[in-house]
Symmetry: C2
Subunit: 226 residues, 2 copies
DNA sequence: CGATACGTTGATTGACTTCAACTAAGGTGG
DNA sequence: CCACCTTAGTTGAAGTCAATCAACGTATCG
């Protein structure tokens, strides 16, 4: 429940790098801590440094002129942020939890190519999801993806079930999946009623039937006959 | 009307590289010609070589288990095909016209990183389109993209108008834009009636008002008040 | 000449959005 | 400590955009 505690200063509409990623007191020489809802990069501003996410969850997004937002990727531990080549950021990046970042590229040579390639693959999967999947399939795909990136050490869960922290809010998920908050919420409710997931708080989710969920995500089974 | 002439053998469900990209009689030492509707790569099969598109149009796509298809990108002259790193192709690639390909990577060192980066950017733009744009905005975006990639030498067109060959069929566009054939067709009709484009044959399109089209694509204007 | 593929248009349906009301949890300040 | 506000989430009812279903025109091809 880390990300429920203190509230980040609202850095929106302000140049990034100057305000938001200010180091916390516990910063070590090589890492950077940021509170939830702070801005790592801001679309359109001068490109920032590259980071590896050590801990927490970051949402990478683009915004249309009229404010519609599309989250391009959810980035968890181990993955890279800000590998662009232009002068300016093409995407914004916002922390969805307490996040620990490590600047990269200095001493340690990262495999940029592999990271870029992973981004291409994830982008393609997202395009297929957005273009051709229905609401239930999208939500199921998202749950599987996030469960993979954010599993938490299982404390006595049943065999085969996966418990994870769902950092994005329903609204974040909607902006990722091309849906609305309400539709996302309804899908969660139906998945819960169908016994595929369980949650008391909306952000601690247990994936009870990963295989069934995968079937739904792929469109080879529907919620009706699951 | 190149791509209307002969019909390619249907390479679907057959291993690629063996059947489809057979060299034409006019093949030179370094390039490869392929007829319309032939398969360059097939999703799931062993990875093929990398090509640069010299001429024509190639559609890169993914398919869900039940057959729904999402076109990930339309690739025109100058751009690269098949820059993946796994063992198997993650996407299929199909020619939409007569296509001239040039194998790359041998003597000439290509800037793979730049190509990967371009793919990431285009993928992100597609995700935003699919997740957050309505039908008219999607079609407008597609027309602008294709006009850029496939302009033809203007022969006496009016100032500011751009004439191009629309290689993809309405069905291909639908699979690219996450719509149906009918919706794409209706959008074309409306854009034509609004005076933004013109066409006699459905595949030779003239973009009459690029700026107005860009407004629609961005969502800052609607077809109603254009 | 019939068969097939592509495109267009109209009528109807439906999945998701929009609008609205309500609950619960946290944070603030008197 | 409690009244008050804000934010997130859920649920229901109504509305809408695009999908589906259907019919038809045209061009190509065997």
């Amino acid at each position: 429940m880390l990300h429920v505690l203190p509230k980040a200063a609202d850095g929106h509409a302000l140049p990034p790098q100057l305000l938001s990623p200010r180091p916390s007191l516990r910063q070590t020489v090589t890492t950077l801590q940021m509170p939830p809802r702070s801005t790592v990069f801001l679309e359109g501003f001068a490109r920032g440094p590259q980071y590896r996410v050590i801990e927490g969850c970051v949402a990478v997004s683009q915004t249309l002129p009229d404010g519609r937002r599309q989250i391009i990727d959810m980035v968890g531990p181990g993955r890279l942020l800000g590998i662009g080549t232009g002068e300016r950021n093409r995407c914004s990046a916002e922390t969805l939890s307490y996040v620990v970042l490590e600047p990269v590229g200095k001493a340690e040579p990262v495999d940029l190519q592999a990271a870029l390639h992973e981004m291409v693959l994830r982008g393609q999967a997202l395009a297929t999801l957005l273009g051709r999947k229905n609401a239930a399939e999208r939500v199921a795909s998202a749950i599987l993806d996030l469960a993979g990136q954010f599993v938490r050490p299982a404390k006595g869960g049943k065999r085969g079930s996966i418990c994870f922290t769902l950092y994005p809010t329903r609204g974040d998920l909607a902006d990722w999946l091309g849906l609305t908050v309400e539709t996302v919420s309804r899908c969660f409710t139906r998945l819960k009623r169908a016994g595929l997931i369980d949650f008391r708080q909306p952000e601690i989710v247990t994936l009870l039937k990963p295989e069934a969920m995968a079937q739904i995500a792929a469109g080879t089974a529907t919620l009706a006959n699951a």
